[in-house]
């Protein structure tokens, strides 16, 4: 049967065309396609890996920043405490200083007051003395304005002196 006997002409054309097709596709066609597919596969794998690493690093960074935040919070609290203490101490010191200063001022003032008082007393005393002298003078002058009075006075005084001498 002619269906089962290969035709030499078709064998020739088949060899030629299949040979050319196979040569071109084996050399330039399929290897490039497979290579590119593999390349892209590698690229995607690498990208996934890089993304995973980046994610991990990001997580690490977040953790670090969290830790840093925590630490700063503690430090802040500590600093605030120290500041409060310093403030209190300073206020305390200032108060003490002010008190001693005030005491000193008060003491000085009292001293001054005492001195002033004494001075005043002394002045008042001498004023009183001179006043009483002039008053006495005036009274004497008033009492001794008559002759009789004067001689009486002199007599009494003479007596007194006599008594004291005897």
């Amino acid at each position: 049967m002619s269906l089962l006997t290969p035709e030499p002409g078709l064998v020739f054309w088949m060899t030629l065309s299949f040979g050319i097709v196979a040569f071109i596709l084996i050399k330039y066609g399929f290897p490039i396609i497979l290579q590119m597919v593999n390349k892209r596969k590698d690229y995607i794998d690498n990208s996934l890996l890089a993304a995973r690493q980046a994610n991990e690093e990001l997580a690490k960074v977040t953790e670090n920043s969290q830790a840093i935040l925590e630490q700063t919070r503690i430090e802040q609290a500590k600093m605030l405490e120290v500041a409060a203490q310093t403030r209190d101490r300073m206020i305390e010191e200032a108060k003490g200083l002010a008190r001693t200063e005030a005491d000193k001022i008060v003491a000085d003032a009292q001293k001054q007051i005492i001195i002033e008082k004494e001075n005043a007393m002394r002045a008042i005393r001498s004023e009183i003395a001179s006043l009483s002298i002039s008053v006495a003078e005036k009274i004497l002058r008033e009492k001794l304005n008559t002759e009789e009075e004067q001689s009486k006075m002199i007599n009494r005084l003479m007596d007194e002196v006599m008594i004291s001498k005897s």
Binding site: P8, M14, F18, I32, L34
Partner: protein
């Protein structure tokens, strides 16, 4: 969907009932049309031709003339178009298409003693032209995909190129890699070429219009070359162990020493493998084409049996043909797949390592697994 189906039935029914009636009116009752020969029509389609028939017309067929290349022992080389054979009442320069006999349908000449002989016939026949057309198409498609991928490898392709890429990768990953084994990268380009060559020719054979429709992969010469190529690839790259298993297999000595029984069987096996590949592809595609044409022929066979039978049978024929064409589309893929897979399996078998090495390999694999 159901409505569409109804409309389809009505339209086809109308069309098919009017057609045979008008045909019957033209022929006088006394003249019976010459009996339609289904077998001849199928064989004519399956066989090769010197010209490419596009359509049968009333006053002559529309054909594409193809070059005829001959080398006669007496008159040397000849090159002419096949249309010349028709214009000169079927003969040209002493060459003519044999109407019957041993060389029926082929170009023959008469030698000096007057007996019919065949010159060396390298004509670009219908199958050869179709083969060249599909080869060019395949090169354009694959090189187009390769160039597009090379230009921009990191981009995921869309449309036809993306589909081709997926197709190629799926054949490579699911057929070639597991069947060939660790050397798959070396054989993948050849096996992919074989797959797409067969698949494209199968599909083109199913298209009933001009550039398709030739029975290329259903031709024994084509499948023979494919099988021989695969046989060469298998045997030229076989390992030492592969040849040892053919000529000195691991069987009791009496099976190979006085009479080399096992080596003979193994040696036959070397040739039966590609032979099976050749026959399988040829028979499947030929069978598919025969079925389609046979079912289509129902229309013409029942033409003389009255309008009712003819129209109903025509409808049946159309439904069956459509169904079988879908099946054939599946077969086109399956046969390309099977040819590629078996080639890959045979190549994988020819790449055997010695059993000692294999054991070591398995052991290292186990160790690796345990480590992992």
């Amino acid at each position: 969907m159901k409505r569409l189906f109804h409309i389809l039935i009505w339209v086809s029914g109308l069309f098919l009932t009017t057609l045979p009636l008008s045909a019957a009116a033209e022929t006088t009752p006394g003249e019976q049309a010459e009996e339609f020969n289904v077998k001849e029509m199928i064989l004519e389609h399956l066989a090769d031709a010197y010209e490419w028939k596009i359509v049968n017309w009333d006053n002559g067929d529309i054909t594409v003339p193809l070059p005829v290349i001959l080398h006669s022992k007496t008159s040397g080389w000849h090159l002419f178009l096949s249309s010349k054979l028709h214009n000169n009442e079927g003969s040209y320069n002493g060459f003519y298409i044999a109407p019957e006999g041993k060389y029926k349908g082929k170009i023959v000449e008469k030698d000096t003693s007057g007996t019919e002989v065949r010159p060396l016939d390298l004509s670009l026949t219908k199958n050869a032209a179709s083969l060249i057309f599909s080869s060019v198409l395949l090169i354009i498609i694959i090189m187009g995909v390769a160039r597009s991928m090379k230009r921009n490898p990191m981009e995921a392709k869309k449309g036809f190129i993306g589909f081709m890429e997926m197709f190629i990768v799926s054949i490579n990953d699911e057929v070639i890699k597991p069947a060939v084994g660790k050397d798959h990268a070396r054989y993948a380009p050849y096996l992919l070429t074989v797959f797409f060559f067969i698949f494209l020719n199968n599909v083109l054979g199913l298209i009933p219009f001009f550039p398709g429709g030739a029975n290329v992969t259903g031709n024994i010469a084509v499948t023979m070359i494919l099988a021989i190529t695969t046989m060469l690839v298998i045997n030229l790259t076989g390992t030492k162990e592969y040849y040892k298993e053919i000529f000195w297999p691991d069987v009791p000595k009496w099976l190979k020493v006085p009479v080399p029984l096992m080596p003979a069987i193994e040696l036959v096996g070397v040739f039966t493998k590609p032979f099976a590949l050749m026959i399988r592809l040829f028979a499947n595609i030929t069978g598919g084409h025969s079925t389609v044409i046979g079912l289509t022929s129902i229309v013409f066979v029942t033409a003389g049996m009255g309008a009712a039978i003819n129209s109903s049978m025509s409808l049946l024929s159309v439904i069956f043909t459509v169904f079988i064409l879908f099946v054939e589309l599946l077969v086109a893929y399956i046969q390309a797949y099977v040819f590629t897979m078996l080639s890959a399996v045979f190549i994988g078998m020819a790449r055997v390592e010695s059993h000692q090495k294999e054991k070591e390999l398995i052991e290292t694999k186990h160790i690796n697994k345990q480590i992992n």
